[in-house]
Amino acid sequence: MAKIIMTADDSASVRQMVSFTLKQGGYEVVEAVDGKDALQKLSGTKVDMLITDLNMPNLDGIGLIKGARALPSCKFIPIVMLTTESQDSRKQEGKAAGATGWIVKPFKPEQLMAVVKKVLG
C-alpha cells in the first residue's frame, strides 16, 4: 500500500509542486492549507509523514509540529519542515518542537524526494 504524506503549506503553488512530486514518486498525498487544517485532518487520517511550512496563518509550523507530536498516531512519524536560510533560529525551534529534519527553500523536486526517502526509509 502506498504511504501517505501530508503537505501543510499556505502557498498553493508550493503545495501543488510538493504534491505533484510526491505523487510521481508513488506516494499518496493529503493537502492542508494551514496548521489548523492540518491538525484537524491528522486527527482523522493516519499519515506516514508530514511536510510542513513554518509560516502559516491560524497555526504556524512550530505549533503544528507540537500539536502533531501530541497525537498518539503521529508520535513517531517523520516530520520535515520547509525553511529558508534566513530562519536558522526557527530551524532550531522546529527541531526542539519535534521535527525530524528540514528542507531549505528553494528546493528542487529531486531534493524533496531525497529527503523523503531518507526519513521514510
Binding site: 502557498s11 498553493a12 503553488s13 501543488q16 507530536r69 517523520p78 525530524t100 529534519g101
Partner: protein
C-alpha cells in the same frame, strides 16, 4: 511540467499582492495590529520562498529585503511608520511589475529596485545581509579511492520522538559501500526499567566506501545534534601499496580509546588471545571486542576481495558431490528431529538448549545446501526457442516465442525432469493451438502467433505457464471425443475445469489428423504423470478462439517437503502440505446420516471423502470423532478420513525399495523423530484409483 507550477505561482503571487495592498492600507490606520503585521510578513515570505523555487530569483532576492524589515517589525525592533508603509507599497508595486515583466519576457526597472532596497536598508538602520540565493548542491567530486571508515553512532535516548528511525540511517550507510554494523546493547536496562520509547542502543559501523567523508556526514545531517557521532578513516585501499599487515585487535581497541596502552601491555604480557583476556579482566565488554574484531575482519575481507576479484568467484563441482551433500543434510534433518523430540521429552534445560541450537543450524544448513543445487530455468528456455523455430517452419506456421522469468531458480534435478513434459506441452501448443497464417488473418488475428513461456516463484513452488494466442480448446469437440473414446458417458455433466481435465485422460486425442509432432494421443497423460512424479500439478484454461493457457506448478525441491502428519490406528502417514486445504471433524452421526455415501457437508458444500482406514485395511475401531483432511486435486476437493491430525512436519523423502515400487497410493516414506516410519501418500494417484473403481 515546470511551466504549470510557474503559472500556479504567478496566480498565487498576484492574489497575495492584492491582499498585501489591503493589509498595508489597513495597517496604516492601525499600526499596532500584530495580526496585520503577521499577515504582511507571511505574504512576503511566501512570495520569496515560492518565487525562488520556481525560478523567479530576482523577485525572491528583492522580496527578501522587504521580509527582513517586516521580521524586525514583527519582533518589535521597528515600528510601523508612514515612510515604511510607503516604501512597502512601492515594493509591492515593484514585485507586481517584475511578475508582469516575466510574462512578457523583458526585465523590470532595475533602478527602482535598487532605490527601494536602499530605502528599506536605511529604515532597518543597518546593512541587512544580502539574500543568499545560491545553494551548495555541488558535492566535491567523488574520490575514487576506497577508504574504510570507523563510525560510532550513539543517538540520544529521545531520538525516536523526533521521528528519526536509526535503522533508516544504517540502511543508508549500507548503500554507500561495504558495511558492517555492530549494535552495542550494553546500555539496555532490565525489562522493568526499560522505556520502550527510548533508544538505548548505539552502533559501531565499519564502512568501506569511495564516496568520501561528506557523504557519510550527509547521512546523519538531521540527527547531528541528537547524537554522538564520530567518523574516522582507518584504512585506504588504493593501488597496490596496501599490503601492510592488518591491525592487531589490541591496536584497534587502543585506537578506539576503549583501552589504554598500559592495559594492553599488561594483557599482552600473558600471551594469550587478546580479546578473551581483555574481557576476562573486565577492561572492555565482549561487545566492544566483537566490534573491533568485525573491523579487523572487514578490512581483511576488503583486501581479499581485491585479490580474488580477478580470479572469479565461482567454482565447478561435480553434481554427484552436491547430491551426496544434500543426502547427508537430509539424514541430519532426520537425526535433528529425533534429538528435538528426545529433548522435549525430558526436563533437561541444558539438553533443550543444545537441541534448539542444533535445530537452528540444521535449518540454515538445509536451506543453503538446497540453494547450491538451484539453477536458473533460463537455459531450458533458450533450448525451447530453437524448438519453436524449427517446428514452426516444418508446420508452415509463423510463430514467435517470448519468455519471462528466465532467472527463476529451481532444483537442478527438477529442471532436468521438467524438460520432456515442457517440450511436449509446447509442441501441442504449436500443433493444435496456433492456426495457419491464413486462418489467423481470416479470424482477424495477426499473421504470426505467439507462444509465451513464463516462470515465476509462488511460495514454495514455481509456476510455469505456457500461453498461446491460438484457436483455444473446443469444449464440444473435447466432449464428443471423450464420449467416443468411452472416457465419459453421454449423460455426464461436467464443469469447464473437469472438461479440460479430460485432455489428460489416457488415450485421448482431439487432433483429426496424426502429424509427426503430436496427435497420437499418448501425450498429455504422460505429461501429467511426469509432472505428478515431481509432486506438481497441471491446469488448463482456455477461451475458444482466443488461445489456451497451461499452468504447471512445481515444488522448488524434491528432497525435502512440508507435509501434514496424520495417524490412523498405530500407523503414521504424510500428506504434502501444498495439497491440503483444511481439516474438519467427522462424527459417527455424520457418517450415519449420509446413508453409506462418502460425502461430508462442509459449509453447505458436499465434499466426497475416502476413508483411509477402510482403504488401507487397517484393523481396529475408528475413534468417536475422526478428522477429514480436505485436499484439492485437479480442481476438485476430496477429503481423506484419518484418526488424528498431528501437525506440520519437515519431511525428508526416502524412496521405497524396489519391492514396493508399484504400491498404489504411496510415493515414499520418511523417518519420524522417534525412529518410526511414516508413509507419504500419493494423493492424486489415490484419488484416481478410487475414481476408477467407482466407474
Amino acid at each position: 511540467m515546470i511551466d504549470v507550477h510557474r503559472q500556479a505561482f504567478k496566480e498565487e503571487a498576484y492574489e497575495l499582492l492584492s491582499e498585501l495592498e489591503t493589509s498595508l492600507l489597513e495597517l496604516e490606520e492601525t499600526p499596532e495590529d500584530s495580526d496585520l503585521i503577521g499577515r504582511v510578513f507571511r505574504a512576503m515570505h511566501t512570495i520569496k520562498g515560492s518565487g525562488a523555487m520556481f525560478g523567479f530569483d530576482d523577485i525572491a532576492s528583492f522580496t527578501h529585503e522587504v521580509e527582513t524589515v517586516f521580521d524586525m517589525v514583527r519582533n518589535g525592533k521597528l515600528s510601523v511608520t508612514k515612510p515604511l508603509i510607503n516604501l512597502t507599497l512601492a515594493a509591492r508595486d515593484q514585485i507586481k511589475s517584475m511578475l508582469d515583466a516575466s510574462e512578457s519576457g523583458g526585465g523590470a526597472d532595475l533602478t527602482a529596485t535598487v532605490q527601494i532596497i536602499a530605502g528599506l536598508r536605511a529604515l532597518a538602520g543597518a546593512e541587512a545581509p544580502a539574500a543568499v540565493t545560491h545553494q551548495e548542491t555541488a558535492k566535491p567530486a567523488a574520490a575514487s579511492t576506497r577508504i574504510t571508515y570507523r563510525i560510532r553512532f550513539a543517538p540520544c535516548r529521545g531520538i525516536l520522538g523526533c521521528g528519526s528511525n536509526p535503522l533508516n540511517l544504517l540502511v543508508e550507510l549500507r548503500e554507500l559501500g561495504v558495511c558492517n554494523v555492530i549494535a552495542q546493547t550494553a546500555g539496555v536496562p532490565e525489562l522493568e526499567e526499560l522505556d520502550p520509547e527510548s533508544c538505548y542502543v548505539y552502533w559501531d559501523v565499519i564502512l568501506t566506501t569511495d564516496q568520501g567523508m561528506n557523504a557519510i556526514k550527509d547521512v546523519f545531517i538531521f540527527v547531528e545534534d541528537d547524537c554522538e557521532l564520530s567518523i574516522e578513516a582507518v584504512a585506504e585501499h588504493d593501488g597496490y601499496n596496501s599490503d601492510e599487515g592488518y591491525k592487531k585487535l589490541g591496536e584497534i581497541l587502543l585506537e578506539r580509546g576503549d583501552i589504554t596502552t598500559e592495559e594492553m601491555a599488561s594483557v599482552l604480557a600473558e600471551q594469550k588471545r587478546f580479546g578473551e583476556l581483555a574481557v576476562q579482566k573486565g577492561i572492555v565488554t565482549e561487545n566492544k571486542v566483537e566490534a573491533a574484531l568485525v573491523e579487523q575482519r572487514h578490512v581483511q575481507a576488503v583486501r581479499q576481495e581485491k585479490q580474488t576479484s580477478d580470479a572469479g568467484n565461482s567454482i565447478r563441482v561435480p553434481a554427484e558431490r552436491l547430491d551426496l551433500l544434500v543426502n547427508l543434510v537430509g539424514e541430519l534433518v532426520t537425526v535433528q528431529a529425533r534429538l528435538s523430540q528426545t529433548a522435549a521429552g525430558r526436563a533437561d534445560l541444558e539438553l533443550s538448549a543444545i537441541a534448539e541450537e542444533v535445530e537452528r543450524l540444521t535449518g540454515e544448513l538445509r536451506d543453503s545446501a538446497l540453494n547450491i543445487r538451484m539453477l536458473p530455468i533460463g537455459s531450458t528456455f533458450s533450448k525451447f526457442k530453437r524448438l519453436v523455430r524449427d517446428l514452426s517452419s516444418e508446420l508452415g506456421k509463423e510463430i514467435e516465442m517470448t519468455t519471462d522469468g528466465a532467472e527463476t531458480e529451481l532444483d537442478k534435478t527438477v529442471i532436468e525432469k521438467l524438460n520432456d513434459p515442457l517440450v511436449h506441452l509446447i509442441r501441442n501448443s504449436l500443433d493444435h493451438g496456433i492456426e495457419l497464417p491464413e486462418v489467423r488473418v481470416a479470424a482477424g488475428k495477426p499473421r504470426h502467433g505467439t507462444v509465451h513461456l513464463a516462470a515465476v516463484h509462488s511460495g514454495d513452488s514455481v509456476l510455469i505457464t505456457i500461453r498461446d494466442d491460438g484457436a483455444g480448446i473446443d469444449k464440444e469437440a473435447v466432449r464428443a471425443k471423450a464420449i467416443e473414446n468411452g472416457i465419459i458417458t453421454p449423460q455426464a455433466e461436467l464443469t469447464e475445469k473437469e472438461l479440460f481435465n479430460l485432455i489428460f485422460a489416457p488415450g485421448f486425442s482431439t487432433a483429426k489428423k496424426i502429424s509427426s509432432i503430436s496427435g497420437r494421443g499418448v501425450g498429455m497423460d504422460v505429461v501429467k504423470r511426469a509432472i505428478e512424479a515431481l509432486r506438481g500439478t497441471i491446469d488448463i484454461t482456455s477461451v475458444y478462439g482466443e488461445g489456451a493457457k497451461i499452468t504447471v506448478r512445481i515444488p522448488l525441491t524434491l528432497a525435502i517437503i512440508e507435509s501434514l502428519l496424520v495417524r490412523i490406528g498405530r500407523d503414521f502417514f504424510m500428506l504434502p502440505l501444498s495439497l491440503v486445504d483444511e481439516c474438519v471433524e467427522l462424527t459417527r452421526e455424520d457418517v450415519a446420516r449420509s446413508n453409506g455415501r462418502h460425502l461430508a457437508n462442509v459449509r453447505e458444500h458436499l465434499v466426497p471423502y475416502i476413508p483411509l482406514r477402510e482403504r488401507f485395511l487397517i484393523h481396529g475401531e475408528s475413534p468417536e470423532i475422526e478428522q477429514i483432511v480436505i485436499t484439492e486435486v485437479n480442481g476438485s476437493r476430496i477429503g481423506f478420513v484419518v484418526d488424528q491430525v498431528i501437525g506440520e512436519h519437515q519431511t525428508v523423502i526416502k524412496s521405497l525399495g524396489r519391492a514396493y515400487k508399484n504400491v498404489e497410493g504411496i510415493s515414499g516414506a520418511t523417518i519420524l523423530g522417534d525412529g518410526s516410519v511414516a508413509l507419504i501418500l500419493d494423493v492424486p494417484q489415490l484419488v484416481q484409483s478410487v475414481e476408477a473403481e467407482a466407474a
